[in-house]
């Protein structure tokens, strides 16, 4: 087997977040409309590696994904050792807008999954004019919790094992083994308490049922795409959310679960490519 280089390139951005200096790792591939990808809770940018190596995407989109501080290759801010990480709507929104501004992205598309899909709704409600389109994967304005997050970070339970064990059932049975286990590996290596800290945002600070009425899809198109095997953000959660937003397009994805882009990249592209086609058409300069 011959060696080859993938087109993905990684760099670090130094910026300020919540009044603190941070070092943000991001990677990108492709040219065209900026497509900023937001990883799931307790995970990192590697979830989007398949999208970044798909010429059908990268020939017309500049796919960019960044690791939130505390995740992947983005370290926590200085002093982290004496604090408990807890993400909030305010902090999450700030870092997305800061990242897009610092990279001088003009009208990017933002696509987030799970908690990344949740925050997309806040962007749609309050910052729609900054984006060309928004895509929420496994996204809803609210969903019912299904486990006690205290299990995620305690000294007598292995954090990586319990995080991966909990979310393993969110992968659809049809997902190929290689992609399934890579998806789980991403959860096995998360830092202690990081998944739990993300879920503070997801569980305690992002009930967006109060703001879906503010979303104007004429300003920024909104797509909500959910896998039928996702029992965390269920098809019903997404359908209910979409029904409350005039003009939102809901796509239910068969044979996919909570991590469509990483658990079954071949299946996912069947659903995401038509959406990207539509966004590309809408973004084309009017003649």
């Amino acid at each position: 087997m011959s060696a080859s280089l993938e087109p993905i390139v990684g760099r670090y951005l130094r910026t300020t977040w919540q009044q603190r200096p941070v070092r943000i790792y991001f990677e990108e591939a492709g040219n065209g409309i900026p497509l900023v990808c937001l990883h799931t809770a307790g995970c990192d940018t590697s979830q989007f590696r398949h999208l970044m190596t798909d010429p059908a995407v990268t020939d017309r989109f500049r796919v960019i994904a960044f690791d939130l501080p505390w995740h992947g290759k983005s370290p926590p801010p200085v002093g982290w050792q004496d604090e408990d990480y807890a993400l909030s709507t305010d902090a999450y929104t700030e870092i997305i807008r800061t990242f897009c501004r610092d990279l001088e992205l003009v009208k990017p598309v933002v696509m987030g999954c799970s908690m990344g899909g949740r925050i997309v709704l806040n962007l749609a409600a309050h910052h729609a004019n900054e984006f060309a389109a928004l895509i929420g994967l496994e996204a809803a304005d609210h969903q019912t919790p299904w486990y006690d997050t205290e299990w995620l970070n305690r000294p007598d339970v292995h954090g990586g094992e319990v995080c991966a064990g909990l979310i393993s059932g969110l992968v659809a049975p049809q997902s190929p083994d290689e992609a399934r286990w890579e998806t789980l590996w991403q959860y096995l290596q998360s830092g202690p308490g990081v998944f739990k800290g993300d879920l503070h945002f997801y569980r305690a600070d992002s009930d967006y049922r109060d703001r879906t009425a503010l979303i104007d899809t004429a300003v920024c198109p909104l797509y909500l795409m959910t896998g039928e095997y996702d029992f965390s953000c269920t098809v019903e959660d997404t359908t209910r959310t979409g029904a409350a937003i005039d003009g939102a397009e809901v796509v239910i994805m068969g044979e996919l679960g909570h991590f469509p882009m990483s658990e079954n990249p071949v299946k996912f592209r069947q659903y995401i490519l038509p959406v990207l086609d539509e966004i590309e058409k809408k973004s084309a300069p009017k003649s």
Partner: protein, 128 residues
């Protein structure tokens, strides 16, 4: 066929190794039938359904037979594919001291998934 579960677990060396720190008594309730299962360092060394003998267990996984039948299909339908999906919808219940279960999640998930190889077609098959 469920009575073959110990043999099928014990011949899976990687699964047994994964459970090497685990010793616990737990109960698997399939409808009205309670299976009391003893794990000793990852091996299933006790598996009885003699019921009513006042056996103790640390935790119990319980669901109606028709729920287990759906869960144990080779490719389960959405909502029936994971024990936590069943617990969220209250089709199954996890009871008792969940520490051994939660601290050995992958082990238990793999053990209870083994009957998907049995090709159950009816509820009667489960207890045959």
């Amino acid at each position: 066929m469920l009575h073959t579960l110990p043999e099928l677990v014990n011949q899976r060396t990687t699964l047994v190794r994964r459970g090497r720190f685990l010793c616990v008594d737990f109960r698997l309730s399939v409808g009205d039938v309670d299976y009391d299962i003893t794990v000793n360092h990852g091996r299933l060394v006790g598996f009885t359904s003699d019921g009513g003998l006042l056996r103790s267990w640390r935790f119990r996984i319980a669901a109606p037979a028709q729920t287990w039948l759906a869960f144990w299909q080779p490719v389960p339908a959405p909502g029936y594919h994971d024990i936590f999906a069943l617990n969220k919808s209250r089709l199954a219940r996890l009871e008792g001291d969940l520490y051994p279960f939660m601290s050995n999640l992958r082990y238990f998930k793999e053990v209870i998934a083994i009957p998907r190889d049995f090709n159950f077609t009816t509820e009667q098959d489960l207890v045959a």
